[in-house]
């Protein structure tokens, strides 16, 4: 059987018929990933800037830690958050396990190291004269750093986009914390894992093609914003 041509056909059918299950999985994937990326950026960008522009003892250890955290397996993040938010865990009272919010928490943790690390690299790669020049021109320290961030916005955008890429593509956190609930926490990736498990390889590959298309559109939109 030719899986690939069959899955191309299936993908087109699913898109043209606006299959409700696919629409819902795409929506959940995109919305959860956007929220996670937003929170991860709010934490990761300032953290990355702070580590890049300040000197402190143990800085190298922090950088090494950030690098190591980038290699965190998604299932480990999933398990860790699971142990916190299960009813038996310390945060069990909120009852968010198997809701989209659980996935947002896990994916945010997953994306923070990447966003922070790449932000740090971008800032480190900046012209070292930016901050001293701004200071000489009479800007305060906060204003100087703001200038630096504006100057390096492309690199920071790239960090955010990389974070988004990681969370929309991952399956471990989504499966473990979301539970693959149809129409609620079923994302594109958990749907692909499920269809593969059911032996529906062509359908799984079709969903993969749709996921790639959605990711392409989002990245094109982000790119357009970046070019302005």
């Amino acid at each position: 059987m030719d899986f690939f041509s069959e899955s191309l056909k299936t993908a087109l059918e699913l898109i043209t018929s606006r299959d409700p299950d696919v629409v819902s999985a795409v929506t959940v994937s995109v919305v959860v990933s956007l929220w996670s990326t937003l929170f991860a950026s709010l934490a990761g960008v300032p953290a990355g800037v702070a580590v890049a522009v300040t000197e402190f003892t143990g800085k190298r250890a922090v950088v090494t830690l950030l690098n190591t955290l980038m290699a965190l397996p998604t299932v480990v993040v999933g398990l860790f958050v699971y142990s916190l938010i299960s009813r038996q865990g310390p945060l069990g009272g909120f009852g968010i396990l198997f809701t989209p919010w659980a996935m947002v928490v896990g994916q945010t943790l997953l994306a923070i190291p990447i966003v922070a690390n790449l932000t740090m690299s971008a800032i480190k790669g900046a012209d070292p004269r930016i901050v001293p020049t701004a200071l000489t021109l009479g800007a305060g320290p906060f204003e100087s750093i703001r200038r630096l961030v504006v100057e390096m916005r492309f690199g920071i955008m790239a960090a955010v986009i990389a974070g988004f890429g990681r969370v929309i593509a991952e399956v471990g956190v989504a499966m473990m914390l979301g539970g693959n609930i149809r129409g609620y926490t079923r994302t594109m990736t958990t749907a692909i894992a499920m269809e593969t498990g059911k032996g529906e390889f062509a359908l799984g590959l079709a969903l993969g093609l749709i996921l790639m298309t959605v990711a392409l559109m989002i990245n094109m939109a982000l790119n357009a914003l970046q070019q302005r």
């Binding site: 929220w35 396990l97 198997f98 149809r182 498990g197 032996g199």
Partner: protein, 269 residues
């Protein structure tokens, strides 16, 4: 940051348009992959959800994990198939009001030429003994699911401790295990419903042993004990149990067909 502002505005608008919050009540149910993969839940849940203006959130995992979720109080109701474990779940105080729902049966599938000659076996245990004697490839679920528990029970009855290169512990769901057995030309134990969904296009393995009493596979539904976990939605869980085991639910279950064949059977009253 000026240039990033339009991005954040776009983000904010997108995010506020699609709210993740849910207004209606949600009942969390852990169940086995077979009830979901067979397609039964797609027809069984909607009438109940409509009548009670609620959503049933289904977390489909192996029976062992499904019960664990109940033991942690992470779900309101469990719908599984492993009678001994279910009884223990209730005896340990995690669940209340266990009810029989339906049954199907297990079958042993394998290559059509039946290299271990198990078709002539009298019992399932004897069939496994023949497989072990021949060291024919056997793929085990290895995931503490209801099917895996059944398999271990049968090995025990056969007086064999399966070990060696011929015994593959997959640690995966029923579907992947059937696929693996197909690729490796091995035998495996599966519920009839999942096999029916795979036979033909997805697997060329055939049923080589079936129809013995020991392969009976009953499903039960249990409410998670509200005395142990005050936050569980016990009333809704009981409504759901009454629905599934009542005339309306049973009619849907017995009338449900996948690939033209019934998947689950209800008990005659």
């Amino acid at each position: 940051m000026k240039l990033l502002r339009p991005l954040f505005i776009t983000l904010a608008v997108t995010l506020s348009l699609v709210s993740l919050a849910a207004a209606e009540e949600r009942l969390k149910m852990s169940t086995t992959t077979s009830t979901q993969d067979s397609g039964l839940l797609k027809v069984l849940l909607p009438p109940f959800e409509k009548k009670n203006n609620c959503k049933v959130d289904v977390v489909a995992v192996g029976t062992g994990q499904a019960l664990k979720l109940g033991e942690a109080g992470d779900v309101d109701v469990v719908f599984v198939h492993a009678r001994k474990l279910e009884d223990k779940f209730v005896a340990d105080g995690f669940g209340v009001n266990r009810k029989d729902v339906m049954y199907n049966d297990f079958v042993i599938i394998g290559p059509k030429n039946d290299p271990a000659g198990i078709a002539k076996a009298k019992t399932a245990a004897e069939a496994l003994k023949l497989i072990a004697a021949k060291q024919a490839t056997f793929v085990s679920r290895g995931d503490k699911s209801g099917t895996h528990m059944k398999e271990l029970e049968l090995w025990k009855a056969a007086g064999t401790d399966p070990k060696g290169g011929w015994y593959i512990e997959a640690g995966q769901g029923m579907g992947p295990v059937i696929t693996m057995a197909t690729e490796r030309r091995g035998y495996t134990l599966t519920d009839r419903g999942t096999y029916n969904a795979f036979k033909g296009q997805k697997t060329d393995l055939a049923i080589v042993f079936q129809g013995e009493k020991g392969l009976f596979n009953p499903y039960g539904i249990i409410a998670v004990n509200p005395k142990k976990f005050p936050h569980v939605k016990y009333d809704l869980a009981m409504k759901f149990i009454d629905y599934v085991t009542g005339p309306e639910g049973l009619k849907i279950i017995s009338g449900y067909k996948a690939h033209g064949e019934p998947v689950f059977f209800i008990y005659k009253k």
